[in-house]
C-alpha cells in the first residue's frame, strides 16, 4: 500500500527532476527562434539565426573536422581496444599482464587535463626530435582521442569476453578449428555487438570532447565543441542556440531510430521463439 502523501511527494520529485533536465534544453530551442540579437530578450519569432549558421563557413569546417576525427577515432579505437581486450582476457597470464591491464584502463580514470597536457608534451617532444607533427590539428587530435577512447572499447570487449565464457571457442577447437579460425569464426562474430557498442561510444566520446582537443590542437583547427565554447565565452549568442538546437534534434532522432531498431529486433526474436515452440509438435 502506497500512502497518498508519499505518492504525491514522489510525483513532484519526478516532475522537478524532469524539469531540471529538460527546461534548459527547451529554453535553448525557444531562444534559437528569437529575432532579437540579445539572447534573453524576446524579439519575436524568426529563423534568421539558422540562416546565419548555414552561411558560416567556420561552422561547417568545424563540423566536418569533428565528424572526420570521430569516424577515424572510432574505427581505430575499436580495432585497438578489441585487440587489447582479447589479449587481456583470452591470452592467459603472460608476463606483464597486470601492468598492461592497468595501463589500458588508466585513461578512464586520468583527469582529462592531465591526459591532454601529457599528449601535448608528447607532440612537442616528437616535433623537436623527429620533426613531426609540424602542424597540430586533425592528426594530433585523432591520436589523442584514440588513446582514451580505446580504453573504453577495451573495457566493453573485456566484459563481453568474460561474460561469453570459453566454451564456444573450446567447442570450435574440439571440432578441429585452429586458434585463428576460432577467432574469425566464433569469437569475432560473437563480439560484434560489443564492437559496435564500442564504436558508437568512441564516436560520441570524440564528438563530445573539448578539453583534450583544446590541448593538442593547433591554430586554425577547431572542432565543433571548441567552436561553440570559444564563441560563447564572449557571451551568449543566438546563432549558437540554433546550432545547439540542431544538435539536440539530431540526437533525438538518433535515439528514436535506435529504439525503433531495437524494438523490431525484439519483435523478430519473439516471432522466432513462437515458431520454435509451435514447430515442436512432431
Amino acid at each position: 500500500m502506497v500512502k497518498r502523501g508519499s505518492s504525491t511527494f514522489l510525483l513532484s520529485m519526478l516532475c522537478f527532476g524532469m524539469a531540471f533536465l529538460y527546461v534548459p534544453m527547451f529554453l535553448l530551442i525557444v531562444y534559437s527562434f528569437n529575432n532579437s540579437k540579445i539572447v534573453p530578450v524576446w524579439g519575436g519569432f524568426s529563423t534568421r539565426w539558422y540562416k546565419v549558421l548555414f552561411e558560416s563557413e567556420e561552422v561547417w569546417n568545424a563540423l566536418a573536422l569533428s565528424v572526420k576525427i570521430a569516424l577515424v577515432n572510432a574505427s581505430f579505437a575499436t580495432l585497438l581496444g578489441t585487440l587489447a581486450g582479447l589479449a587481456l582476457v583470452r591470452f592467459g597470464s603472460f608476463r606483464g599482464r597486470t601492468l598492461f591491464g592497468g595501463m589500458v584502463s588508466a585513461p578512464l580514470v586520468m583527469p582529462e587535463v592531465i591526459t591532454g597536457l601529457s599528449l601535448l608534451m608528447l607532440f612537442i617532444t616528437l616535433k623537436e626530435f623527429v620533426g613531426w607533427p609540424d602542424k597540430r590539428g586533425f592528426a594530433t587530435i585523432t591520436i589523442a582521442h584514440i588513446t582514451f577512447s580505446m580504453a573504453y572499447v577495451a573495457v566493453i570487449i573485456q566484459s563481453r569476453l568474460t561474460g561469453m565464457g570459453t566454451t564456444l571457442e573450446e567447442a570450435a577447437q574440439d571440432l578441429g578449428a585452429r586458434p585463428l579460425r576460432v577467432l574469425v569464426d566464433i569469437t569475432l562474430p560473437l563480439l560484434a555487438p560489443g564492437m559496435l557498442a564500442g564504436w558508437l561510444l568512441a564516436f560520441t566520446l570524440s564528438l563530445d570532447d573539448l578539453v583534450i582537443a583544446s590541448f593538442v590542437t593547433g591554430p586554425g583547427s577547431n572542432t565543433l565543441p571548441m567552436l561553440i565554447y570559444s564563441r560563447v565565452r564572449l557571451g551568449l549568442r543566438p546563432d549558437i542556440n540554433a546550432l545547439a538546437t540542431i544538435i539536440i534534434v539530431t540526437v533525438m532522432f538518433a535515439v528514436a531510430i535506435a529504439g525503433w531498431i531495437m524494438m523490431r529486433q525484439q519483435k523478430q526474436k519473439e516471432r522466432e521463439m513462437q515458431l520454435a515452440t509451435t514447430g515442436d509438435a512432431q
Binding site: T167, L168, E170, A171, A172, Q173, D174, L175, G176, A177, R178, R181, D185, I186, P189, L190, K269, E272, M273, L275, A276, T277, G279, D280, Q282
Partner: protein, 380 residues
C-alpha cells in the same frame, strides 16, 4: 547389445591387449583444490565407458583433460599410443559433446553440425550428405535452418550430439548426453549410440548422473567420488559386487545392516547386527577379522517376503508393512523392523492382485529372508 560386448571382447581381462586410452597417475588441481586425484585408467578400443558419480566429483574435469582443454597437473594421458601432453585440442582424435551443448548461436543447425567437417576440408557434397544423415538420425531434418535459440532443450541436445558424432572421431566424449531427452528419444538415442559403437568402433567415454543409463549403455563403469575412482568394473560387477557402501548406495537401492563379525571361516561368515537383534549368515569367506565392524547389504529384489515364517533360520527378519508402492510389474514394500529400521523389498507381481489385495497389506506382520549367497559384506 551389451551382453555380446561383455562376452566377446572383454579386453580389460586380456593382459596383452593394448589400451586405447591410457591414463596414469593423472591429477588436476585448481589452485589448492584437487578436482581429480591420482587417477589410473585404461579404456579399450570400442568400449562404451561410463563415468558415474555425484555432482562435482570431477567427471567433467577428467573429460576436459582427455579433450585437451585442461592440462593435468601431473600424470600421463595417451590416446592410441600417442602421448597427448603436447597435442592441442584441435589435433586430438577426440570429439566432445559439452554439458552445456555449446552450440554456436550465430549459426543455424545445419552449419553447427557441418562446422567440424568443413574444418577437415571435405567436399561440399560429402558434407551435405553426412550432415543430412546425421540430422535424420537425431530427427531434426526439419529444423536444419533454425538457429539454436529457436530450439527446445532436448532439440539443442540432439544438435550437440549430432555435431560431435558427425566427424566419426576415434574417441567420443559425451558429457551427460541424454539428460534432457524424453524417455522414448532417450532409449532410441541410447540404442543408436550402441549401434554407432558397434558399427564404427568408436570408443565412447560417457559421463552420466543416471545410473540406469550407465547400466544399460556401458561395457564398463567407473564410479567416481571426490576426484578418485571408487570402483571400476562391468555393470554386473558394480551392481552385484560393489566395493564400498558408497558404490552400493549410488547404484540402485540397497538395504544396509550394520554389525560385527562373530564367526569367520573360509566358507562362511556370521555377522550380528549392532543391536544383536539380527543374525546374518553368508556362505562365502571374506578377509575380515572377528569382531570387526562391517555392513551387510542386500538388494531389495533379493529379499523374499512371506506371511508365514520361512523354513531356513538364517537371514530371517520380522517386520510390519508400512508402505506399499505398486509399480505395475513389481511392488515395493517398505517394512518396518522392531528397531525402527525400514527395509525395502521388491516383489514381482506374478499374479494379479485379487479384489485389489496384495501379497501383504498395510500393517500386516511379514517375514523377510534371503539366500546365504545374496548378501554383500562391506567393510568400508
Amino acid at each position: 547389445m551389451t551382453v555380446s560386448g561383455e562376452i566377446l571382447d572383454q579386453h580389460w581381462l586380456d593382459s596383452r591387449a593394448r589400451p586405447f586410452i591410457h591414463i596414469r597417475g593423472v591429477t588436476k588441481q585448481f589452485g589448492g583444490f584437487t578436482a581429480v586425484n591420482n587417477v589410473d585408467l585404461d579404456i579399450y578400443q570400442g568400449e562404451l565407458f561410463c563415468l558415474l558419480g555425484g555432482s562435482g566429483c570431477g567427471k567433467t574435469t577428467l573429460l576436459r583433460m582427455l579433450a585437451g582443454f585442461e592440462t593435468p597437473t601431473s600424470g600421463v594421458i595417451s590416446i592410441d599410443g600417442v602421448d597427448m601432453n603436447d597435442v592441442p585440442p584441435y589435433e586430438r582424435p577426440v570429439n566432445m559433446m559439452f554439458q552445456s551443448y555449446a552450440l554456436f548461436p550465430h549459426m543455424n543447425v545445419e552449419n553447427n553440425v557441418a562446422y567440424g567437417l568443413k574444418r577437415d576440408g571435405l567436399s561440399k557434397e560429402e558434407i551435405r550428405l553426412r550432415v543430412g544423415e546425421m540430422l535424420a538420425m537425431v530427427e531434426l531434418s526439419d529444423f536444419s535452418k533454425r538457429k539454436p535459440h529457436q530450439l527446445s532443450g532436448g532439440q539443442k541436445q540432439r544438435v550437440a550430439l549430432a555435431r560431435s558424432l558427425v566427424k566419426r572421431p576415434k574417441v567420443l566424449l559425451l558429457d551427460e548426453p541424454l539428460g534432457a531427452l524424453d524417455k522414448r528419444l532417450r532409449e532410441q538415442t541410447q540404442f543408436e549410440l550402441m549401434n554407432i559403437q558397434d558399427r564404427l568402433g568408436v570408443t565412447f567415454v560417457v559421463v552420466t548422473h543416471d545410473q540406469e543409463e550407465a547400466m544399460t549403455l556401458s561395457t564398463r563403469i567407473a564410479v567416481m567420488d571426490a576426484g578418485q575412482f571408487v570402483q571400476v568394473g562391468t555393470p554386473t560387477e558394480i551392481y552385484e559386487y560393489p566395493a564400498t557402501r558408497r558404490v552400493a548406495d549410488f547404484i540402485g537401492s540397497i538395504n544396509m545392516f550394520e554389525g560385527r563379525v562373530t564367526e569367520n571361516d573360509a566358507d562362511h561368515v556370521v555377522v550380528d547386527s549392532t543391536d544383536n537383534a539380527l543374525r546374518f549368515f553368508m556362505d562365502h569367506g571374506a578377509s575380515v577379522s572377528d569382531g570387526s565392524r562391517v555392513w551387510v547389504a542386500v538388494r531389495p529384489e533379493k529379499i523374499r517376503l512371506s506371511r508365514t515364517p520361512p523354513p531356513n533360520e538364517a537371514n530371517q527378519i520380522e517386520g510390519v508393512v508400512q508402505d506399499i508402492g505398486y509399480l505395475g510389474n513389481v511392488s515395493i514394500y517398505r517394512v518396518r523392523l522392531e528397531s525402527g529400521m525400514i527395509v525395502e523389498v521388491t516383489v514381482p507381481n506374478q499374479t494379479r492382485p485379487r479384489d485389489g489385495k496384495h501379497a501383504a497389506g498395510w500393517e500386516d506382520r511379514v517375514f523377510l529372508d534371503w539366500e546365504a549367497s545374496s548378501a554383500i559384506l562391506l567393510t568400508r
